[in-house]
């Protein structure tokens, strides 16, 4: 066995492909919010493909109010030690120093998240300067392509976190699909104007036009609380789901988590999902969109 040539993946541009590819490995899976090593183990045993380590789940962040920041690195480390699956963590929008800290503790994915209080009301993080991958939220195609231009390796909908209300995630996923369908219906000479309208780089518009899809993996996030919610989002075109408050704010987290995992895999099998939905105990209570004062999805456009 000769001719071995390992390319040291030190340069950031070399990492962008590897980082998009890690998101490809997560497809068809469920990423679960956890706040303790015990919850992380429950999530892994239930079939989570990754966990999001955070101090408070979105429902509690919403209830507590105040400024919400990156979690304690010691807490994130305790979760990294507890499980073998990828561990993600959130930093504030625009807070590149928090992102540097997360990279320094060898995190698998950073979520530059509207769930935390934004640190910058104009600029997002220049994610091309990092070796670790980033996932960012997006309400529509323009927002998604702006985040990808900044270096995001994965996109998720920006459904209203901590509400247990699926309506915004559905809205964002439909808008994303409509935006992609619109580009695909254009003539090539119309792409310049479309890039201008969307306020995104032309090469990304061209890529969507060619591939008929986003250049990176797209998950659903925000408000998913039941196996049926997961199946709905997958049928609308999500490539996997994030479940935040929906699991550990419910009556029987382990059972609900496992049911959501199976429903995400076999999202078109209504008979199976009917069975999975039986006797799950109470779902998280939830808040309706018009009952909340703070719309987190509006943070960072």
């Amino acid at each position: 066995m000769t001719n071995t040539n390992i390319e040291a993946p030190e340069k950031c541009e070399d990492r962008s492909k590897l980082n998009r590819e890690l998101a490809q490995m997560l497809k068809g899976g469920v990423i679960m919010d956890v706040t303790t090593p015990e919850q992380a183990r429950i999530a892994e045993d239930a079939g989570a493909c990754a966990v999001m380590a955070l101090e408070r789940i979105p429902a509690d962040i919403r209830a507590a109010g105040g400024v919400s920041r990156m979690s304690d690195p010691a807490m994130i480390r305790s979760i990294q030690e507890a499980v073998s699956i990828p561990v993600m963590a959130k930093c504030r929008i625009g807070h590149f120093a928090e992102a540097q800290i997360l990279e320094a503790i060898d995190i698998d994915y950073i979520d530059e998240s509207e769930v935390l209080s934004p640190a910058d009301d104009v600029f997002h993080i220049d994610k091309t300067k990092f070796k670790v991958p980033f996932v960012c939220g997006a309400k529509d195609l323009g927002e998604a392509l702006r985040r990808i231009a900044e270096g995001a390796s994965m996109i998720r909908t920006k459904g209203e976190p901590g509400t247990g209300d699926i309506v915004q995630a559905v809205r964002h996923m439909r808008k994303m699909n409509q935006g992609i369908a619109r580009i695909c219906a254009l003539r090539e000479d119309e792409l310049y104007e479309e890039a201008k309208q969307l306020e995104v780089p032309l090469d990304l518009v061209r890529q969507v036009w060619k591939d008929h899809r986003l250049p990176v993996v797209n998950f659903a996030a925000g408000g998913i609380a039941t196996p049926a919610d997961a199946a709905l989002m997958m049928q609308l075109g999500a490539e996997g789901v994030f479940v935040g408050s929906g699991i550990f704010k419910s009556g029987d987290p382990a059972k609900r988590a496992a049911a959501i995992v199976q429903a995400t895999t076999n999202y078109a099998d209504a008979r199976l999902i009917a069975k999975l939905s039986e006797n799950l105990g109470p779902a998280m209570v939830g808040i309706n969109e018009d009952e909340i004062k703070l719309l987190m999805a509006q943070r960072g456009e």
Binding site: N3, E7, P9, L22, M25, K27, G28, A258, V261, T265
Partner: protein
């Protein structure tokens, strides 16, 4: 035309389907027990998280029939998580899944995502191929009957045993189709 069943519970299975159809094979997805009743010539165990795939294999009742198929000589191409599912033992881990491959693997052998990398190395019988490693495992011991097919930096990254091909890397992520070609030849 060769028909290949691709385990489609989670992970990068569509990428394998594209590679197979590029080579003129017909791929279909295995999502439940009933999908195994179809007749087919080969099986792909794709990349993803092995804990997720293993759990779903058990929950959906597919584990036992899959193991029986592979023991009966069904050709298999297993990549990354698929390698872990196939391995007879996992270093430092009690878990055993399909366990038809007489080899020991180590999960996350290169660490977390910052340890992911791309390489080019010899694959026995093919030549130099691109190899993408994402939070990859490696093979710490190729057991009796398992032939080492590739090494990178002194670590075993591919073994073949009978009609089982097991790889720590991701041929489905690169455009080189020679690994899939070799698998389809096994499935002929």
């Amino acid at each position: 035309m060769r028909r290949i069943g691709v385990l489609a519970l989670h992970g990068a299975f569509i990428e394998h389907e594209h590679a197979l159809s590029d080579l003129g094979a017909q791929a279909f997805e295995i999502r439940e027990r009933g999908d195994l009743d179809r007749s087919f010539d080969g099986l792909v165990l794709p990349s993803g998280e092995s804990t997720v795939q293993g759990k779903l294999l058990c929950d959906l009742g597919i584990m036992e029939p899959l193991r029986a198929l592979i023991k009966g000589g069904m050709p298999v191409l297993a990549t990354c998580a698929g390698l872990i599912l196939l391995a007879g033992s996992i270093d430092g881990d009690q878990a055993r899944w399909i366990a038809t491959l007489p080899s020991t693997v180590r999960r996350n052998a290169y660490g977390r995502q910052l340890g992911s990398f791309h390489a080019e190395a010899d694959y026995e019988g093919i030549g130099v191929v691109p190899m993408t490693f994402i939070r990859a495992p490696c093979i710490v011991k190729a057991g009796k009957g398992a032939k080492v097919a590739a090494t990178v930096d002194g670590r075993i990254v591919a073994v073949e045993c009978g009609r089982q091909m097991a790889l720590a890397f991701h041929p489905e992520l690169d455009q080189d189709r020679r690994i899939h070609e070799r698998f389809l030849a096994l499935a002929a």
